[in-house]
Amino acid sequence: MLKLYLRLGIPTLVICAVAAAGLAGTYAITKDRIAAQKVVEQNKALSAASPDAKSFEQIKDEAAMAQVAKAAGETPILGVFRALDASGQGAGWGVITTPRGYGGPMEVVVGLDRNGKVTGVKIGFNKETPGLGTKAIGSAGAPPTPYLLSFNGVDSAEKAGKLDGVTGATKSSRGVKRGVQAALNAYEAVLKGLEGGVSK
């Protein structure tokens, strides 16, 4: 019996060990680049949503983030960022939300100014249907759709809820709307009370 275990176990063990070593090596090489890419990607989306901001600083205060998550309700919030202008003063907020669209979760980045007005909505990763869902959310590289632009200047979740969705892209529209509402609710409940955006 022991012989059988060894006969089957040793080759499997050797191959798994070699595979693990190969993966560890690849991970070590690519780890830093992947992290850097992620930051670049995130900053690009945040800048598109808050055109006036020069840089962003993530809110790391766990208590505040817990409140944000509570205010956002069912919509998950990936991160909240303080938007800083050229002189390092707080210019507003960037909120990354992941509401559900038609094709599963999609990334909706919402830019808010200091007074909680939407400055822009940018859609990141998504699996919405090309030609249908993209009528609401647009496609990568293309200018923002009229639907996304219609959120600009909106300052309450209630007002955002009243905007018309796009025909043929009902679920995608609803997803975007939920993302914006979550961001506005988070502002109302938490961000408004945080230090006016001045970098700590």
Partner: protein, 209 residues
């Protein structure tokens, strides 16, 4: 060498994984909305297929029959993860387009199928031929389908950020090409074409023999 070429050519024609063996279709139908993404998907599959074929063939003498499937999966999954991490690091735009389809190469029937049906019973040298042939057979069709769907479905063809072809504004692209029904219809036509080609090739072979 003759045998090597025969095995290599089989992947492209008589045993083409997509049009004849009909495996690996999910990724083909789902990914082929863009030329660039399809091409990188094909390259990723070639990479995984060749390396896993080589390694599985190299260790086939030490692999006990009873645990061969777990060993295949470990080897395949490792190469797929290497591709996954590398693409994430070096071509993030393509990676975000392909998304979940890269990790799903692990369960792509072509890779596991070739491991079991070919690499496990053949030499390393022939397994390379099989890997490249099968991989190219997959890539040519998925990239062709991707190019066609992107060009006629969105009116332009892009590669690495540059627009290669753009139709004038009066061309209203039919959405169906980018949706799944379009993929099925086009793929059916490709199968028909490829079978017609294979029949001609077979006839010529018979004459030669």
């Amino acid at each position: 060498m003759k045998e090597w070429l025969r095995v290599f050519g089989n992947g492209l024609s008589f045993e083409n994984p997509l049009t004849v063996l009909m495996i690996g279709l999910c990724s083909t139908l789902a990914v082929s909305t863009k030329f660039e993404g399809s091409l990188f998907m094909g390259i990723a599959v070639i990479f995984v297929l060749v390396l896993s074929n080589v390694l599985i063939s190299a260790v086939r003498k030490f692999t006990p029959d009873e645990v061969r499937i777990p060993i295949f999966i470990v080897i395949i999954a490792s190469f797929v993860t290497i591709v996954d991490l590398s693409m994430k690091a070096f071509v993030p735009a393509v990676y975000s387009f392909l998304g979940v389809w890269i990790p799903l190469i692990v369960v792509n029937c072509i890779v596991l199928g070739r491991a079991e049906a070919f690499a496990y019973t053949n030499t390393v040298w022939l397994s390379v031929a099989d890997g490249i042939g099968m991989g190219l057979g997959y890539t040519i069709i998925i990239a062709g389908l991707g190019a066609f769907r992107e060009l006629f479905g969105s009116g332009q063809l892009q590669f690495l950020g540059a627009t290669l072809v753009k139709f004038p504004a009066w061309y209203a692209p039919p959405n169906i090409l980018l949706l799944f029904p379009g993929a099925f219809i086009l793929f059916g036509l490709i199968i028909a074409g490829s079978h017609a080609m294979n029949r001609k090739l077979a006839a010529r072979k018979q004459v030669a023999a």
